[in-house]
């Protein structure tokens, strides 16, 4: 893996929906490349046939009856929203 360049960092930042100041991009590129270099120590080990471990405990997800268990708390939860109107969350216009 080659070190990440500034264009790649900008692309990843877009995917992550993070606005990064242009002057900070080289720093991020350097740090991310160093982290990926660290991570790539994993490649020294052959893991062919090793079952991936997604979760520390081999457990299955519990199922429950499909019943309503929550009460409507819209006003309570919207009290901490940045902008709401008539029970709706407001964002900039999406459709012209």
């Amino acid at each position: 893996m080659m070190p990440l360049g500034t264009a790649e960092v900008a692309k990843i930042a877009h995917l992550a929906r993070l606005a990064i100041r242009e002057e900070e991009v080289p720093d991020y590129a350097r740090n991310l490349s160093a982290i990926l270099e660290l991570v790539e120590q994993m490649n020294a080990v052959d893991t062919t046939g090793v079952t991936p471990m997604a979760h520390p405990l081999d457990m299955v997800q519990r199922l429950r009856a499909d019943e309503i268990s929550e009460s409507n708390q819209r006003e309570h939860f919207q009290a901490i929203a940045p902008r709401v109107d008539a029970g709706l969350y407001l964002v900039p216009k999406v459709i012209e």
Binding site: Q41, M42, P52, R83, Y89
Partner: protein, 484 residues
């Protein structure tokens, strides 16, 4: 009063030596006096603490008090507390008033514990020094030039400075054990699934686990007893009754088999720390335990695997902070994309952004197999190492951290060096095992922690192993002079 442990305070409250209100007032005064130099608390909830204390005193008058009734504690600011700011150490949640209580908070409330406030932490629990907090670094009570460790650095410093007898913490890669070690207190990360994660702001969901931090193993047992247990609202909570940890503390250690992984005593370990840890292990031999050298051959892969798994999960978990429903929103967004990107860019600090970016990259098209899948395979190898070890030994011991507390600013500009501070703790999270750190001495005036790792659901054994040591040593009773 502040010099007493939870067990001692509980006894004093029971005999009426003082009331919870008096105790709470005394500790709030200490917080007011000492917090400016430590920065251990982000929010102090003095008024509600006194109300809870009075309610606890009333409950006692009615004869309904338990062991934790009226005991003041502090919560790491990662646990949602109804009506109280829950910042997670981040600007993005600086004005977030949680609309409900985390299960851990509910359970401790139900036991009658009194919340003094919310403790400082690395932003979203990402850090090993408490320097990534939006609210500024916490200082180590043993030496104000030193970091307290992280991410539960505020909880550790507050307990060490006797501002609170106990606190909650969370541990994703060492965030209870490493600050406990660096501040000279006791802390336990339970088995994954033992303590409910509901209402605990998620960082890396397959690794995160809450646990108690206090001065003694006995106090951790009391707190864990209240915190642990099945919770329907956490889909990974384990439906298995928690034992009475406090009742199991006194089992003798005769015949205990302690595994000493050669990988935990090699290169990278500070030689002065090694000597202190070896002295502690010698003490265990005197208590009747036998030691055997073991190997955890994939230990060196824990940090690389962690820095794929944790960032990948964090990039997914932190996607919820979008500036729409709660948390920071940028001024005058020109469109929806601008709203998302600037709210997040302004709201998250540098380390959180780095981890989100690493995780996004690792999960992006074409890289999944090379990073996330590979890391999960390494995770299996690490877990298998422990499985084989526990076929031979009862517990594993070694240093909690390779060094004592480092100086503020020393590692903050170099993420990789900072990451190495968790070299002995991270594998435990990857495997999902319980791990405990207890104070076993000093290098200069900075504390050293011994890590004890157990097989799944052996928290009772870990607390017992730590307690027996604390019956014959007094490291856990040492107080930093400025806060004695």
């Amino acid at each position: 009063m502040h010099e007493k442990t939870i067990a001692q305070l509980s006894a004093s409250l029971a005999t009426g030596e003082f009331s919870s209100e008096e105790l709470t007032r005394a500790l709030l005064e200490r917080v007011e006096r000492f917090n400016p130099s430590l920065n251990a608390f982000i929010t102090v909830t003095a008024e509600s603490a006194l109300a809870q204390a009075r309610a606890a005193d009333e409950r006692r008058r009615q004869g309904a008090a338990g062991l934790l009734t009226g005991i003041p504690i502090a919560h790491k600011d990662i646990f949602c507390t109804d009506g109280v700011r829950t910042s997670c150490g981040s600007r993005i949640l600086d004005r977030f008033i949680a609309p409900y209580n985390a299960t851990v908070v509910e359970r401790l409330n139900a036991a009658g514990a009194v919340m003094l406030g919310k403790t400082n932490m690395d932003e979203f629990a990402m850090g090993s020094s408490n320097e990534t907090s939006f609210y500024g670094p916490v200082r180590n009570p043993w030496d104000l030039d030193a970091v307290p460790g992280g991410s539960s650095g505020g909880s550790a410093a507050a307990v060490a400075a006797r501002l609170t007898p106990g606190a909650t913490g969370t541990d994703t890669g060492g965030s209870i054990r490493q600050p406990a070690a660096l501040c000279g207190i006791t802390g336990i990360k339970p088995t994954y699934g033992r303590v409910s994660r509901w209402g605990m702001i998620a960082y890396a969901s397959s690794l995160d686990q809450g646990g108690p931090m206090a001065r003694t193993a006995e106090d951790c047992a009391l707190l864990l007893g209240a915190m642990a247990g099945f919770d329907l609202r956490d889909s990974t909570s384990v439906d298995r009754p928690a034992p009475d940890y406090a009742a199991l503390l006194d089992q003798p250690l005769t015949g205990l088999k302690i595994g000493l992984p050669k990988e935990y005593f090699g290169e990278g370990l500070d030689s002065a720390v090694a000597r202190v840890v070896e002295d502690a292990i010698a003490e265990y031999r005197k208590l009747g335990a036998e030691t055997v050298e073991i190997s955890l051959p994939n230990s060196h892969l824990a940090i690389p695997a962690y820095y794929v798994v944790a960032p990948a999960e964090c990039s997914s978990n932190l996607a919820r902070f979008d500036g729409v429903r709660y948390g920071h929103r940028c001024e005058n967004p020109k469109d929806l994309l601008d709203l998302y990107t600037r709210s997040r860019g302004e709201g998250f600090g540098a380390e959180v952004q780095r981890r989100i970016l690493v995780g996004t990259f690792a999960l992006s098209a074409g890289y999944y197999d090379a990073y996330y899948l590979k890391a999960q395979q390494i995770r299996r190898l690490i877990s298998d190492d422990f499985r084989q070890a526990f076929a031979q030994v009862d517990v594993i011991m070694g240093p909690t951290s390779p060094t004592v507390a480092f100086n503020l600013g020393e590692k903050v500009d170099d993420p990789i060096t900072m990451y190495l501070s968790d070299i002995y703790t991270i594998a435990v999270n990857l495997a999902g095992l319980p791990g405990l750190s207890l104070p076993v001495g000093f290098v200069g005036q900075r504390p050293v922690g011994l890590q004890v790792i157990g097989d799944y659901f052996t928290e009772d054994r870990l607390l017992n192993v730590a307690h027996r040591y604390q019956q014959v040593t007094d490291w856990h009773q040492r107080a930093p002079t400025a806060f004695a």
